[in-house]
Protein backbone atom coordinates (compact mmCIF):
# COMPACT_ATOMS: atom_id res chain seq x y z
CA UNK A 1 0.00 0.00 0.00
CA UNK A 2 1.12 3.49 -0.87
CA UNK A 3 0.18 5.55 2.22
CA UNK A 4 -0.75 9.19 1.80
CA UNK A 5 -1.51 10.01 5.41
CA UNK A 6 0.33 8.29 8.25
CA UNK A 7 -0.77 8.64 11.85
CA UNK A 8 1.77 7.84 14.55
CA UNK A 9 0.97 7.57 18.28
CA UNK A 10 -1.70 10.22 18.01
CA UNK A 11 -3.37 11.28 21.25
CA UNK A 12 -5.92 14.06 21.55
CA UNK A 13 -7.43 15.52 24.70
CA UNK A 14 -10.31 17.98 24.95
CA UNK A 15 -9.93 19.46 28.41
CA UNK A 16 -10.38 16.30 30.56
CA UNK A 17 -11.65 14.07 27.80
CA UNK A 18 -9.18 11.69 26.21
CA UNK A 19 -10.71 11.73 22.72
CA UNK A 20 -8.11 9.81 20.71
CA UNK A 21 -5.93 7.11 22.23
CA UNK A 22 -2.65 6.03 20.64
CA UNK A 23 -3.81 6.01 17.07
CA UNK A 24 -1.50 4.41 14.50
CA UNK A 25 -2.83 4.25 10.98
CA UNK A 26 -1.89 4.48 7.31
CA UNK A 27 -4.39 5.90 4.87
CA UNK A 28 -3.96 4.78 1.26
CA UNK A 29 -3.45 7.17 -1.61
CA UNK A 30 -6.21 7.77 -4.18
CA UNK A 31 -8.74 5.56 -2.48
CA UNK A 32 -11.78 6.28 -0.39
CA UNK A 33 -11.21 5.62 3.27
CA UNK A 34 -14.28 5.69 5.47
CA UNK A 35 -14.01 6.10 9.22
CA UNK A 36 -16.93 4.40 10.96
CA UNK A 37 -18.01 3.94 14.54
CA UNK A 38 -20.74 4.94 16.98
CA UNK A 39 -21.17 8.65 17.75
CA UNK A 40 -18.67 10.14 20.13
CA UNK A 41 -16.02 7.60 19.22
CA UNK A 42 -13.57 10.17 17.85
CA UNK A 43 -14.25 9.80 14.12
CA UNK A 44 -14.50 13.51 13.48
CA UNK A 45 -11.61 14.28 15.80
CA UNK A 46 -9.40 11.93 13.84
CA UNK A 47 -10.53 13.48 10.57
CA UNK A 48 -9.91 17.00 11.79
CA UNK A 49 -6.42 16.13 12.93
CA UNK A 50 -5.54 15.72 9.24
CA UNK A 51 -5.98 19.42 8.38
CA UNK A 52 -5.04 20.83 11.78
CA UNK A 53 -8.61 21.86 12.47
CA UNK A 54 -8.46 20.74 16.09
CA UNK A 55 -6.45 23.78 17.06
CA UNK A 56 -9.47 25.98 16.25
CA UNK A 57 -11.11 24.56 19.37
CA UNK A 58 -9.99 25.81 22.76
CA UNK A 59 -8.35 23.50 25.28
CA UNK A 60 -7.33 20.88 22.79
CA UNK A 61 -4.06 19.06 23.35
CA UNK A 62 -2.50 16.85 20.77
CA UNK A 63 0.59 14.68 20.78
CA UNK A 64 2.05 12.31 18.22
CA UNK A 65 2.47 12.77 14.51
CA UNK A 66 0.37 13.06 11.41
CA UNK A 67 2.45 12.72 8.27
CA UNK A 68 1.19 13.75 4.87
CA UNK A 69 3.53 12.62 2.08
CA UNK A 70 5.95 11.74 4.84
CA UNK A 71 6.04 15.22 6.36
CA UNK A 72 4.78 15.79 9.89
CA UNK A 73 2.12 18.49 9.69
CA UNK A 74 2.48 19.21 13.40
CA UNK A 75 6.21 19.86 13.19
CA UNK A 76 7.18 23.35 14.31
CA UNK A 77 7.36 25.83 11.47
CA UNK A 78 4.78 24.07 9.31
CA UNK A 79 2.52 26.54 7.53
CA UNK A 80 -1.05 25.74 8.49
CA UNK A 81 -2.54 27.43 5.43
CA UNK A 82 -0.38 25.24 3.23
CA UNK A 83 -1.61 22.11 5.02
CA UNK A 84 -5.23 23.12 4.66
CA UNK A 85 -4.69 23.88 1.01
CA UNK A 86 -3.39 20.35 0.57
CA UNK A 87 -6.18 18.71 2.57
CA UNK A 88 -9.60 20.20 1.81
CA UNK A 89 -12.61 19.67 4.04
CA UNK A 90 -16.24 19.11 3.20
CA UNK A 91 -18.23 19.94 6.32
CA UNK A 92 -21.31 18.26 7.67
CA UNK A 93 -23.52 21.19 6.76
CA UNK A 94 -22.59 23.22 3.70
CA UNK A 95 -21.56 26.76 4.46
CA UNK A 96 -21.10 28.82 1.31
CA UNK A 97 -19.09 32.01 1.74
CA UNK A 98 -21.20 35.20 1.76
CA UNK A 99 -20.63 35.98 -1.91
CA UNK A 100 -21.75 34.90 -5.37
CA UNK A 101 -21.55 31.36 -6.72
CA UNK A 102 -18.65 32.38 -8.94
CA UNK A 103 -16.75 34.10 -6.13
CA UNK A 104 -17.17 31.10 -3.87
CA UNK A 105 -15.24 28.95 -6.30
CA UNK A 106 -12.82 31.71 -7.21
CA UNK A 107 -12.11 32.58 -3.56
CA UNK A 108 -9.51 29.91 -2.89
CA UNK A 109 -7.78 30.40 -6.23
CA UNK A 110 -7.57 34.12 -5.55
CA UNK A 111 -6.13 33.88 -2.05
CA UNK A 112 -3.59 31.26 -3.03
CA UNK A 113 -2.76 33.10 -6.25
CA UNK A 114 -3.48 30.01 -8.34
CA UNK A 115 -5.45 31.66 -11.14
CA UNK A 116 -6.53 35.10 -12.18
CA UNK A 117 -8.08 37.00 -15.06
CA UNK A 118 -9.47 34.98 -17.94
CA UNK A 119 -8.03 31.70 -16.71
CA UNK A 120 -10.09 32.13 -13.56
CA UNK A 121 -13.36 31.96 -15.49
CA UNK A 122 -12.31 28.72 -17.13
CA UNK A 123 -11.15 27.27 -13.84
CA UNK A 124 -14.39 28.18 -12.07
CA UNK A 125 -16.47 26.40 -14.68
CA UNK A 126 -14.14 23.41 -14.66
CA UNK A 127 -14.46 22.91 -10.91
CA UNK A 128 -18.21 23.47 -10.94
CA UNK A 129 -18.35 20.80 -13.59
CA UNK A 130 -16.24 18.43 -11.51
CA UNK A 131 -18.65 18.91 -8.62
CA UNK A 132 -21.62 18.29 -10.91
CA UNK A 133 -23.12 21.75 -10.44
CA UNK A 134 -22.20 23.56 -13.64
CA UNK A 135 -25.35 22.80 -15.62
CA UNK A 136 -27.57 24.08 -12.82
CA UNK A 137 -25.76 27.36 -12.22
CA UNK A 138 -24.07 28.34 -15.47
CA UNK A 139 -26.66 31.06 -16.14
CA UNK A 140 -26.57 32.57 -12.67
CA UNK A 141 -22.96 32.49 -11.62
CA UNK A 142 -23.18 35.94 -10.12
CA UNK A 143 -26.16 35.30 -7.93
CA UNK A 144 -25.70 34.83 -4.19
CA UNK A 145 -24.65 31.32 -3.24
CA UNK A 146 -27.07 31.50 -0.33
CA UNK A 147 -29.98 31.11 -2.78
CA UNK A 148 -28.93 27.62 -3.84
CA UNK A 149 -30.66 24.62 -2.33
CA UNK A 150 -28.77 22.85 0.41
CA UNK A 151 -27.79 19.99 -1.88
CA UNK A 152 -26.48 22.43 -4.45
CA UNK A 153 -24.65 24.30 -1.71
CA UNK A 154 -22.82 21.14 -0.71
CA UNK A 155 -21.72 20.57 -4.30
CA UNK A 156 -20.64 24.20 -4.42
CA UNK A 157 -18.55 23.58 -1.31
CA UNK A 158 -17.04 20.60 -3.08
CA UNK A 159 -16.19 22.74 -6.13
CA UNK A 160 -14.79 25.43 -3.86
CA UNK A 161 -12.64 22.86 -2.07
CA UNK A 162 -11.35 21.32 -5.30
CA UNK A 163 -10.45 24.76 -6.64
CA UNK A 164 -7.55 25.20 -4.24
CA UNK A 165 -5.97 22.10 -5.84
CA UNK A 166 -5.81 19.81 -2.83
CA UNK A 167 -4.44 16.28 -2.88
CA UNK A 168 -6.69 15.08 -0.10
CA UNK A 169 -10.40 15.63 0.37
CA UNK A 170 -11.76 15.15 3.87
CA UNK A 171 -15.49 14.78 4.43
CA UNK A 172 -17.20 15.01 7.80
CA UNK A 173 -20.47 13.17 7.12
CA UNK A 174 -20.86 15.37 4.06
CA UNK A 175 -24.23 13.95 3.07
CA UNK A 176 -25.92 13.80 6.44
CA UNK A 177 -27.73 17.14 6.04
CA UNK A 178 -28.84 16.40 2.48
CA UNK A 179 -31.91 14.81 0.95
CA UNK A 180 -31.35 11.30 -0.48
CA UNK A 181 -31.13 12.51 -4.06
CA UNK A 182 -28.48 15.17 -3.31
CA UNK A 183 -26.63 12.69 -1.11
CA UNK A 184 -26.47 10.24 -3.99
CA UNK A 185 -25.18 12.99 -6.22
CA UNK A 186 -22.33 13.75 -3.82
CA UNK A 187 -21.52 10.05 -3.43
CA UNK A 188 -21.24 9.62 -7.21
CA UNK A 189 -18.94 12.61 -7.43
CA UNK A 190 -16.73 11.25 -4.65
CA UNK A 191 -16.43 7.94 -6.52
CA UNK A 192 -15.35 9.86 -9.65
CA UNK A 193 -12.88 11.95 -7.71
CA UNK A 194 -10.94 9.09 -6.15
CA UNK A 195 -9.05 8.72 -9.43
CA UNK A 196 -7.24 11.93 -8.56
CA UNK A 197 -7.68 12.48 -4.84
CA UNK A 198 -7.21 10.70 -1.58
CA UNK A 199 -10.61 10.84 0.07
CA UNK A 200 -11.25 10.33 3.76
CA UNK A 201 -14.84 10.34 4.98
CA UNK A 202 -16.52 10.08 8.31
CA UNK A 203 -19.82 8.27 8.11
CA UNK A 204 -22.27 6.87 10.57
CA UNK A 205 -24.23 5.18 7.82
CA UNK A 206 -22.97 1.64 7.32
CA UNK A 207 -24.63 1.24 3.94
CA UNK A 208 -22.93 4.38 2.72
CA UNK A 209 -19.60 3.09 3.97
CA UNK A 210 -20.19 -0.16 2.08
CA UNK A 211 -21.04 1.72 -1.11
CA UNK A 212 -18.03 4.02 -1.01
CA UNK A 213 -15.19 2.57 0.99
CA UNK A 214 -12.05 0.98 -0.36
CA UNK A 215 -10.55 1.10 3.09
CA UNK A 216 -12.30 1.03 6.45
CA UNK A 217 -11.25 2.46 9.78
CA UNK A 218 -13.35 1.40 12.75
CA UNK A 219 -13.18 3.50 15.89
CA UNK A 220 -14.67 2.83 19.28
CA UNK A 221 -14.46 5.09 22.34
CA UNK A 222 -11.41 6.93 21.10
CA UNK A 223 -9.56 3.79 20.11
CA UNK A 224 -8.74 2.50 16.69
CA UNK A 225 -10.19 -1.00 16.80
CA UNK A 226 -9.64 -2.25 13.30
CA UNK A 227 -8.66 -1.01 9.89
CA UNK A 228 -8.12 -2.65 6.56
CA UNK A 229 -9.44 -3.06 3.02
CA UNK A 230 -13.21 -2.63 3.07
CA UNK A 231 -14.16 -6.08 1.85
CA UNK A 232 -11.97 -7.74 4.46
CA UNK A 233 -13.33 -5.70 7.34
CA UNK A 234 -16.91 -6.08 6.24
CA UNK A 235 -16.74 -9.77 5.44
CA UNK A 236 -14.24 -11.05 7.97
CA UNK A 237 -13.90 -8.61 10.85
CA UNK A 238 -11.07 -9.72 13.10
CA UNK A 239 -12.20 -7.91 16.21
CA UNK A 240 -15.21 -8.79 18.30
CA UNK A 241 -16.18 -5.12 18.65
CA UNK A 242 -16.10 -4.59 14.89
CA UNK A 243 -18.37 -7.58 14.41
CA UNK A 244 -20.75 -6.25 17.05
CA UNK A 245 -20.87 -2.85 15.39
CA UNK A 246 -21.45 -4.28 11.93
CA UNK A 247 -24.30 -6.36 13.30
CA UNK A 248 -25.82 -3.30 14.94
CA UNK A 249 -25.19 -4.49 18.50
CA UNK A 250 -23.14 -1.45 19.64
Amino acid sequence: MDPHIQVRDLNVHYADNHALKDINLDIPKRQITVIIGPSGCGKTTLLKSFNRFLELTDQTRLSGQVLIDGIDIYAPGMDVTEIRKKAGLLAQRPFPLPMSIYDNVAYGMRIHGIQKGRALDAAVSRYLEMAGLWEEVKDRLHQPAARLSIGQQQRLCLARGLAVEPEIMLGDEPTSALDPFSAQHIERKLLDLKQQYTIVLVSHILRQAKRLADYIVFMYLGELVEHGPAHEVFEHPRQERTRAYLEGLI
Binding site: F53, R84, A91, M99, I111, P144, A146, C157
Partner: protein, 292 residues
Amino acid sequence: MKERHFQRRHLHRRHVEEGIVKALMVLSFMLLAGSLGFILITILIKGLPALNWDMLTKTPQGGFYLGKEGGILNAIIGSLYLAGGATLLAILVSLPLALYLGTYVRRARWADFVRLSMDILWGIPSIVYGAFGFTIMLALGMRASLLAGILVLTLLEFPIMTRAIEEVVRMVPHDLEQASYALGSTRLETALRVVTRQMLPGIVTAILLAFGRGIGDAASVLFTAGFTDRIPTSLFQPVASLPLAVFFQLSTPFPEVQQRAYASALILTAIVLIISFGSRWLATRLGRNIIK
Protein backbone atom coordinates in the same frame (compact mmCIF):
# COMPACT_ATOMS: atom_id res chain seq x y z
CA MET B 1 -66.25 9.16 26.72
CA LYS B 2 -65.28 11.29 29.67
CA GLU B 3 -61.71 11.29 28.40
CA ARG B 4 -62.77 12.72 25.07
CA HIS B 5 -64.90 15.40 26.68
CA PHE B 6 -61.94 16.46 28.74
CA GLN B 7 -59.72 16.62 25.68
CA ARG B 8 -62.21 18.76 23.81
CA ARG B 9 -62.38 21.22 26.69
CA HIS B 10 -58.64 21.27 26.87
CA LEU B 11 -58.41 21.97 23.15
CA HIS B 12 -60.90 24.80 23.56
CA ARG B 13 -58.74 26.33 26.25
CA ARG B 14 -55.68 26.14 24.04
CA HIS B 15 -57.53 27.97 21.27
CA VAL B 16 -58.62 30.67 23.70
CA GLU B 17 -55.05 31.11 24.91
CA GLU B 18 -53.84 31.40 21.36
CA GLY B 19 -56.54 33.96 20.62
CA ILE B 20 -55.69 36.12 23.62
CA VAL B 21 -51.98 36.22 22.87
CA LYS B 22 -52.65 36.96 19.22
CA ALA B 23 -55.00 39.79 20.15
CA LEU B 24 -52.31 41.23 22.44
CA MET B 25 -49.78 41.19 19.65
CA VAL B 26 -52.13 42.88 17.20
CA LEU B 27 -53.01 45.47 19.83
CA SER B 28 -49.33 46.25 20.54
CA PHE B 29 -48.67 46.57 16.85
CA MET B 30 -51.59 48.91 16.35
CA LEU B 31 -50.50 51.02 19.29
CA LEU B 32 -47.04 51.36 17.83
CA ALA B 33 -48.11 51.99 14.26
CA GLY B 34 -50.82 54.34 15.52
CA SER B 35 -48.35 56.43 17.54
CA LEU B 36 -46.01 56.71 14.59
CA GLY B 37 -48.88 57.69 12.32
CA PHE B 38 -50.20 60.18 14.85
CA ILE B 39 -46.80 61.85 15.25
CA LEU B 40 -46.26 62.06 11.52
CA ILE B 41 -49.75 63.44 10.89
CA THR B 42 -49.40 66.03 13.65
CA ILE B 43 -46.12 67.43 12.39
CA LEU B 44 -47.36 67.26 8.81
CA ILE B 45 -50.56 69.18 9.56
CA LYS B 46 -48.89 71.72 11.78
CA GLY B 47 -45.59 71.99 9.98
CA LEU B 48 -46.41 71.70 6.30
CA PRO B 49 -48.06 75.13 5.96
CA ALA B 50 -44.95 76.82 7.34
CA LEU B 51 -42.56 74.74 5.29
CA ASN B 52 -41.18 76.59 2.32
CA TRP B 53 -38.03 76.85 0.30
CA ASP B 54 -36.65 79.62 2.51
CA MET B 55 -36.82 77.32 5.56
CA LEU B 56 -34.48 74.90 3.89
CA THR B 57 -32.10 77.26 2.17
CA LYS B 58 -31.73 80.35 4.37
CA THR B 59 -30.25 81.00 7.74
CA PRO B 60 -32.33 83.06 10.21
CA GLN B 61 -32.45 86.71 9.21
CA GLY B 62 -33.12 89.61 11.56
CA GLY B 63 -36.33 89.03 13.50
CA PHE B 64 -36.70 85.37 12.42
CA TYR B 65 -37.74 84.36 15.90
CA LEU B 66 -40.35 87.09 15.87
CA GLY B 67 -41.90 85.67 12.73
CA LYS B 68 -39.90 87.50 10.07
CA GLU B 69 -37.67 86.32 7.21
CA GLY B 70 -35.24 83.46 7.12
CA GLY B 71 -34.93 79.70 7.52
CA ILE B 72 -33.18 77.07 9.54
CA LEU B 73 -30.36 76.10 7.22
CA ASN B 74 -28.00 76.80 10.14
CA ALA B 75 -29.70 74.10 12.20
CA ILE B 76 -29.94 71.60 9.33
CA ILE B 77 -26.26 71.91 8.48
CA GLY B 78 -25.37 72.10 12.17
CA SER B 79 -27.21 68.87 12.99
CA LEU B 80 -25.63 67.06 10.05
CA TYR B 81 -22.18 68.24 11.13
CA LEU B 82 -22.77 67.25 14.74
CA ALA B 83 -24.29 63.85 14.13
CA GLY B 84 -22.02 63.10 11.16
CA GLY B 85 -18.87 64.02 13.08
CA ALA B 86 -19.96 62.13 16.18
CA THR B 87 -20.88 59.04 14.15
CA LEU B 88 -17.48 59.02 12.44
CA LEU B 89 -15.67 59.33 15.77
CA ALA B 90 -17.90 56.70 17.36
CA ILE B 91 -17.13 54.24 14.54
CA LEU B 92 -13.42 54.65 15.23
CA VAL B 93 -13.93 53.52 18.81
CA SER B 94 -16.89 51.18 18.48
CA LEU B 95 -15.76 49.02 15.62
CA PRO B 96 -12.47 47.84 17.13
CA LEU B 97 -14.02 47.44 20.56
CA ALA B 98 -17.00 45.49 19.23
CA LEU B 99 -14.75 43.24 17.14
CA TYR B 100 -12.54 42.64 20.16
CA LEU B 101 -15.48 41.85 22.44
CA GLY B 102 -17.21 39.72 19.86
CA THR B 103 -14.25 37.63 18.73
CA TYR B 104 -11.27 37.68 21.06
CA VAL B 105 -12.77 37.90 24.54
CA ARG B 106 -16.32 36.69 24.08
CA ARG B 107 -16.62 35.02 27.45
CA ALA B 108 -13.97 36.77 29.53
CA ARG B 109 -15.24 38.22 32.78
CA TRP B 110 -13.90 41.69 32.17
CA ALA B 111 -15.61 41.72 28.78
CA ASP B 112 -18.88 41.34 30.63
CA PHE B 113 -17.84 44.26 32.78
CA VAL B 114 -17.23 46.34 29.64
CA ARG B 115 -20.65 45.34 28.33
CA LEU B 116 -22.28 46.27 31.62
CA SER B 117 -20.56 49.67 31.59
CA MET B 118 -21.83 50.29 28.10
CA ASP B 119 -25.36 49.32 29.02
CA ILE B 120 -25.19 51.78 31.90
CA LEU B 121 -23.79 54.49 29.62
CA TRP B 122 -26.61 53.72 27.21
CA GLY B 123 -29.14 54.31 29.96
CA ILE B 124 -27.74 57.63 31.16
CA PRO B 125 -30.04 60.52 30.21
CA SER B 126 -28.49 62.75 27.60
CA ILE B 127 -28.79 65.87 29.75
CA VAL B 128 -26.26 64.24 32.06
CA TYR B 129 -23.86 63.87 29.14
CA GLY B 130 -24.50 67.54 28.37
CA ALA B 131 -23.80 68.60 31.92
CA PHE B 132 -20.72 66.38 32.08
CA GLY B 133 -19.41 67.82 28.82
CA PHE B 134 -20.08 71.30 30.07
CA THR B 135 -18.12 70.70 33.28
CA ILE B 136 -15.14 69.42 31.33
CA MET B 137 -15.35 72.40 28.97
CA LEU B 138 -15.36 74.81 31.87
CA ALA B 139 -12.34 73.11 33.36
CA LEU B 140 -10.52 73.34 30.03
CA GLY B 141 -11.68 76.88 29.41
CA MET B 142 -13.46 75.88 26.18
CA ARG B 143 -16.47 77.65 24.74
CA ALA B 144 -19.54 75.95 23.35
CA SER B 145 -18.42 74.70 19.96
CA LEU B 146 -18.98 72.23 17.17
CA LEU B 147 -16.04 70.20 18.48
CA ALA B 148 -17.44 69.99 22.01
CA GLY B 149 -20.86 69.04 20.66
CA ILE B 150 -19.35 66.32 18.48
CA LEU B 151 -17.37 64.90 21.40
CA VAL B 152 -20.37 64.71 23.70
CA LEU B 153 -22.54 63.20 20.98
CA THR B 154 -19.80 60.65 20.35
CA LEU B 155 -20.10 59.57 23.97
CA LEU B 156 -23.84 59.33 23.52
CA GLU B 157 -23.64 57.29 20.33
CA PHE B 158 -20.76 55.05 21.24
CA PRO B 159 -22.47 52.56 23.61
CA ILE B 160 -25.45 51.96 21.34
CA MET B 161 -23.19 51.50 18.33
CA THR B 162 -20.77 49.17 20.08
CA ARG B 163 -23.49 46.95 21.48
CA ALA B 164 -25.27 46.80 18.13
CA ILE B 165 -22.09 45.95 16.23
CA GLU B 166 -21.03 43.38 18.81
CA GLU B 167 -24.35 41.64 18.35
CA VAL B 168 -23.64 41.50 14.61
CA VAL B 169 -20.15 40.13 15.24
CA ARG B 170 -21.50 37.43 17.55
CA MET B 171 -24.08 36.39 15.00
CA VAL B 172 -21.42 35.38 12.47
CA PRO B 173 -21.66 31.58 12.36
CA HIS B 174 -18.57 29.80 13.57
CA ASP B 175 -18.91 27.37 10.69
CA LEU B 176 -18.51 30.20 8.24
CA GLU B 177 -15.08 31.08 9.60
CA GLN B 178 -14.20 27.39 9.61
CA ALA B 179 -15.25 27.12 5.97
CA SER B 180 -12.80 29.87 5.18
CA TYR B 181 -10.01 28.34 7.26
CA ALA B 182 -10.60 24.99 5.59
CA LEU B 183 -9.67 26.57 2.27
CA GLY B 184 -6.34 27.64 3.72
CA SER B 185 -7.21 31.27 4.45
CA THR B 186 -5.24 33.20 7.00
CA ARG B 187 -6.98 34.90 9.90
CA LEU B 188 -6.74 38.24 8.14
CA GLU B 189 -8.23 36.91 4.91
CA THR B 190 -11.02 35.30 6.86
CA ALA B 191 -11.71 38.52 8.72
CA LEU B 192 -11.55 40.87 5.75
CA ARG B 193 -12.89 38.81 2.89
CA VAL B 194 -15.43 36.59 4.60
CA VAL B 195 -16.51 37.82 8.00
CA THR B 196 -16.68 41.49 7.04
CA ARG B 197 -18.94 40.71 4.11
CA GLN B 198 -21.21 38.78 6.36
CA MET B 199 -21.33 41.61 8.90
CA LEU B 200 -21.48 44.65 6.64
CA PRO B 201 -25.28 45.04 6.44
CA GLY B 202 -25.58 44.74 10.21
CA ILE B 203 -22.79 47.23 10.78
CA VAL B 204 -24.40 49.74 8.43
CA THR B 205 -27.64 49.39 10.36
CA ALA B 206 -25.85 49.82 13.69
CA ILE B 207 -24.08 52.96 12.49
CA LEU B 208 -27.27 54.55 11.25
CA LEU B 209 -29.09 53.64 14.44
CA ALA B 210 -26.44 55.56 16.34
CA PHE B 211 -26.61 58.43 13.85
CA GLY B 212 -30.35 58.58 14.42
CA ARG B 213 -29.88 58.84 18.15
CA GLY B 214 -27.24 61.53 17.70
CA ILE B 215 -29.13 63.77 15.33
CA GLY B 216 -32.28 63.74 17.41
CA ASP B 217 -30.73 64.62 20.74
CA ALA B 218 -31.24 68.09 22.16
CA ALA B 219 -30.12 67.92 25.75
CA SER B 220 -26.53 66.89 25.21
CA VAL B 221 -25.81 69.69 22.71
CA LEU B 222 -27.66 72.36 24.64
CA PHE B 223 -24.66 73.50 26.67
CA THR B 224 -21.89 72.00 24.63
CA ALA B 225 -22.59 73.06 21.05
CA GLY B 226 -24.53 76.20 21.87
CA PHE B 227 -26.76 77.80 19.28
CA THR B 228 -26.07 80.33 16.57
CA ASP B 229 -27.70 81.73 13.48
CA ARG B 230 -24.53 81.27 11.47
CA ILE B 231 -23.17 78.19 9.83
CA PRO B 232 -19.89 77.38 11.57
CA THR B 233 -16.71 77.55 9.51
CA SER B 234 -14.45 75.95 12.09
CA LEU B 235 -14.66 73.29 14.76
CA PHE B 236 -14.28 75.90 17.47
CA GLN B 237 -17.36 77.95 16.63
CA PRO B 238 -20.73 77.25 18.21
CA VAL B 239 -23.28 75.48 16.06
CA ALA B 240 -27.06 75.25 15.82
CA SER B 241 -28.99 72.01 15.77
CA LEU B 242 -32.48 70.98 14.69
CA PRO B 243 -33.78 69.70 18.03
CA LEU B 244 -32.78 72.98 19.68
CA ALA B 245 -34.27 74.96 16.79
CA VAL B 246 -37.54 73.17 17.42
CA PHE B 247 -37.25 73.87 21.13
CA PHE B 248 -36.45 77.58 20.81
CA GLN B 249 -39.13 78.26 18.22
CA LEU B 250 -41.76 76.35 20.10
CA SER B 251 -41.06 78.32 23.27
CA THR B 252 -41.70 81.71 21.67
CA PRO B 253 -45.15 83.23 22.17
CA PHE B 254 -45.73 83.78 18.42
CA PRO B 255 -47.97 81.33 16.57
CA GLU B 256 -46.10 81.79 13.24
CA VAL B 257 -42.85 80.89 14.90
CA GLN B 258 -44.43 77.94 16.69
CA GLN B 259 -45.64 76.70 13.35
CA ARG B 260 -42.10 76.94 12.08
CA ALA B 261 -41.08 74.73 15.00
CA TYR B 262 -43.31 72.04 13.56
CA ALA B 263 -41.84 72.63 10.14
CA SER B 264 -38.38 72.18 11.67
CA ALA B 265 -39.55 69.00 13.37
CA LEU B 266 -40.84 67.84 10.02
CA ILE B 267 -37.43 68.44 8.46
CA LEU B 268 -35.68 66.57 11.29
CA THR B 269 -38.11 63.68 10.97
CA ALA B 270 -37.65 63.65 7.20
CA ILE B 271 -33.87 63.43 7.63
CA VAL B 272 -34.24 60.52 10.05
CA LEU B 273 -36.71 58.78 7.73
CA ILE B 274 -34.46 59.22 4.72
CA ILE B 275 -31.55 57.83 6.70
CA SER B 276 -33.65 54.87 7.89
CA PHE B 277 -34.96 53.99 4.46
CA GLY B 278 -31.55 54.58 2.95
CA SER B 279 -29.93 52.23 5.43
CA ARG B 280 -32.65 49.64 4.85
CA TRP B 281 -32.01 49.79 1.14
CA LEU B 282 -28.26 49.63 1.60
CA ALA B 283 -28.49 46.77 4.08
CA THR B 284 -30.69 44.77 1.74
CA ARG B 285 -28.32 45.36 -1.14
CA LEU B 286 -25.28 44.42 0.88
CA GLY B 287 -27.19 41.58 2.50
CA ARG B 288 -27.90 39.70 -0.72
CA ASN B 289 -24.99 37.40 -0.11
CA ILE B 290 -25.38 36.86 3.61
CA ILE B 291 -25.39 33.28 4.84
CA LYS B 292 -28.16 32.59 7.32
